[in-house]
Symmetry: C3
Subunit: 138 residues, 3 copies
């Protein structure tokens, strides 16, 4: 069994931002030399997400509006977690969007449907945060 590990680092300019990391994960896969196996891609921080969806700016706007409706950032005082912090909403938004994805590796490629793209979802940005890419297989 082969295994591969890499951390991807991000520092967004905005509090909330979606970044397409598919090319980074494909680069990891090529370096790993794995032909058949699984790729795990997960946020290493609990106010961020890794998820799979469409790379379409209208949809990304819809995600922003929708997440603000389901788990609004303000007023900060509505959340008990916001004693010394102001990011309780980010923990909730990441819960909706998910921490991780597991992607099949087939013939040395990410085994994707037609529109699947992997995103880093930042919900409490403007500081350095990481995504873990771990692959196992043969």
């Amino acid at each position: 069994m082969k295994s591969f590990r890499k951390e991807l680092w991000f520092e967004t300019t905005k509090r909330r931002q979606l970044i397409n990391i598919t090319p980074d994960v494909e680069d990891c896969l090529e370096k790993s030399g794995i032909q058949e196996g699984f790729a795990l891609v997960n946020a290493m921080h609990i106010s961020a997400s890794v998820f799979i969806n469409d790379d379409e700016s209208g949809l990304h706007h819809d995600f922003e509006v929708w997440l603000e409706k389901l788990a609004p950032e303000k007023p900060y005082s509505q959340y008990k977690h916001n004693g010394f912090e102001d990011n309780a909403d980010a923990h909730l938004k990441r819960t909706i969007m998910g921490r991780e994805v597991v992607v099949a590796i087939t013939d040395g490629k990410l085994d994707f449907g037609p529109w699947e793209q992997i995103f880093y979802g930042e919900f409490d940005g403007k500081r350095k945060k990481r995504v873990l890419v771990k692959m196992i297989g043969e």
Copy 2:
């Protein structure tokens, strides 16, 4: 390490539909010959879901009502993604329900609790779409 791959194809008659695919995944497992490992089952389309829950029609009705409350289909104009399409709500509904499940394989069986069943959740149907089953192990 053994690996196995199969695509399951669906064309639902309704826009939204939940289909129990547990027997299909069990069939894949038998064909794979894997005794110990992991099974990944994921939607290959970004407006559909694979999830695990109860095969109970009342609950499935509750899911429909609940998802329509959290991410309503109409009015279509509320979503920016709906320029040339009308399925923004399906992307959001699938986000709630999840893209994939990973199931343990033990002694050549899906290692399930008493009521766990795997479902394909279609939220923008009436056309051909796929689920990927990928298994690795020994």
Copy 3:
């Protein structure tokens, strides 16, 4: 390839409760002898969750309030699933929080970011329920 399997048992005193199971999973990993691989931790019951977030009591209070807003327990009659049961809300809450996590194993350790902790999320407790820990690797 090595594999490891263990069930963790819980019987909460309250209907809803969050339990940090990170030490239990670390104990499994030590027993498994796996250095590089994946750990799957999943609820075996469909009204419970396994998820990763912060071990902070304020945030846990926020999760409780938030889940009650998105998928309220009462009135029981709002859900069709509640014919012979009263736990439809627990199925919905678990859907938001997720069934499972997959965690990378690196150098014989759970490969976590700074604040990641694994929780059992019980949403229909006061009876015996299980979590499955399954690990594969080398």
